[in-house]
Symmetry: C2
């Protein structure tokens, strides 16, 4: 059996798994945003008919999973694994959403990078011969995140200009060993980078160095240039982090401004929707990828897309203890054909 | 490339990865217990020289990782991935312990089943050709867990007879494509089982059905009997959960009492150390496996061991909202030779 690891941190798949279906679910604010039409389901009720925000997030995951399975025309029992994670303490949105599914469950924690981590591991499980089909799900909910990470909603705390708005959204991708694509051809697993930022209202700045490191390593590992991609998307750096990322690359002589975007900038209309520096949350990159971006690959708009989802790995306790915010980013190459790098 | 998935939920590795080194670290209570001599390092100071319990847990992870790398005679930079997780909100013990390591990091959340989940994924990454070497680390700390999940230590809350004592311990295993063993030959990934238990002081009862399901499925998937193992170890059901597990198997006509043990029963002397139903925490199964159990496989005491680590996937928020406790268990076959099932 051949070795599939490349360079410092990367993987090239022998038999690139196919994303046979994907789905995105959101609530009113996500539906009102510029990507609203790319969501499979928008709930006007951000409680999703439940009594708590946490139960709402669980219900949202079940909804996106059900839609993705329907689109893939398979029953959940045909899935060999679910890779899932979210922002809630002990990742309960994921475990409670899947507790009656009967599907082998692998819980992840990568903060807002979870969708990329899940896609990487699910693709490894399929290309490696450990599964024929697997799914990845992640979610976040503005209200469950606000009260857990910041202040009770009722407190009405003022938001700083660098703050990002946690998306009430979930994304699900179903991967298969057989399919017409889009394909996952390459992966770069990120290392943790801590730039010393300790302002939890400036997570874009905390995560940008991780995205820079992962994308740079990815390009070096495969000996490619940014222009070999039609689109490089981070998620979710927001306005502050995105500008830092472009600046870091410009120091290396790369102008990424024309081909680099960010899920945190795409999901909402920043000024009209009053979201300050942009969107964030596990559900941001997941829903933007599983809706808008994968649709663009399927339609032929983009042939090669790099998604480098980013996560801020702090907790309210570590912040309270004066720690800075470690960032991480994992990068996944998504191609309309099985030909990657 | 051949298919390596077997039956409903299991995997047989073509080239079983070798556990080239493992280490266990604990504090005073763990050192005083019956397995004290199997720990590589015992800190009399449960703060591990740090100012907070959370920083202590991070330091404990760094210590166990450093010892395991030394025993494997490799520098951390030779590792392709770290798979790590813990019980703290947002799994910060793991991310902060590895933030300066420069090693590609994959965060997991499987509660106390995390060591088995990590071993399964790390073994897949190596057997699949995505890595030559990878490490798995998990930890728990009595004091950081008590104040997060239950009450402040200063409160001095009375413990119920079914309560378990969260281990202050960490375990680390270093896996390699090349080595003399012990080998990871087979894996069964668990599904989530919710038996309807909502008493957070009775997690053994909540997790026992998951262990039963995973071990039963494992035996069926490989067409083997319990007696094909020298030892089947759950972790960490404690006294209550262990008795339920034996009872569930007795209904199937299997008497597991002679070959089945539990990490939660092994770590402490239940009555002398006043730990009620036994030990728990991610660090319990991890340290018992990475110390005592792997030593027993290396010495030839046991040739084939099944470790089915168990996790309770609730949070204080879900419990507060009246939810029952979902359990999960992943099983990993560890053999002194590369011949598994």
């Amino acid at each position: 059996m051949g070795t599939k690891y490349i360079g410092k941190q990367s993987i090239r798949f022998d038999n690139p798994p196919s994303i046979v279906a994907s789905a995105a679910v959101g609530s009113k604010k996500e539906g009102d945003g510029p990507l609203g039409s790319w969501f499979d389901y928008i709930s006007a009720d951000s409680r999703f008919g439940q009594k708590s925000w946490e139960k709402a997030e669980t219900t949202m995951q079940q909804k996106v999973f059900s839609i993705a399975c329907d689109k893939a025309m398979l029953s959940p029992s045909q899935l060999r694994y679910i890779f899932a994670g979210d922002l809630l303490n002990q990742c309960t949105a994921s475990s409670y959403s899947m507790r009656d599914s009967g599907i082998p469950f692998l819980g992840l924690y990568g903060a807002c990078s979870t969708i990329a981590q899940g896609l990487a591991l699910a693709a490894m499980s399929i290309d490696g011969g450990y599964a024929d089909k697997a799914a990845v799900i992640t979610s976040s909910h503005f209200c469950s995140a606000e009260r857990q990470f910041r202040t009770p909603l009722e407190y009405g705390g003022q938001r700083t200009p660098t703050a990002q708005w946690t998306a009430t959204a979930a994304g699900c991708a179903v991967l298969s060993a057989v399919g017409q694509g889009p394909f996952i051809t390459n992966v770069t697993i990120g290392t943790i980078k801590d730039a010393g930022i300790s302002d939890v209202n400036n997570m874009g700045a905390a995560m940008a160095p991780a995205a820079y490191e992962t994308i740079s390593t990815h390009l070096a590992d495969f000996s490619i240039k940014p222009g070999d991609y039609d689109l490089i998307v981070t998620g979710d750096l927001g306005k502050v982090g995105h500008d830092i990322l472009l600046d870091l690359f410009s120091r290396d002589g790369f102008d990424l401004s024309a081909i680099c975007d960010d899920c945190g900038l795409l999901l909402y209309s920043l000024e009209e929707q009053d979201v300050h520096a942009g969107a964030s949350g596990c559900g941001c990159a997941a829903s933007v990828l599983c809706g808008y971006l994968l649709a663009g690959v399927r339609s032929g708009r983009w042939k090669k897309v790099l998604i480098s989802a980013t996560g801020a790995l702090m907790s309210p306790v570590t912040s309270g203890q004066g720690e800075s915010i470690p960032g991480i980013s994992h990068a996944v190459t998504i191609c309309s054909s099985g030909e990657g790098f």
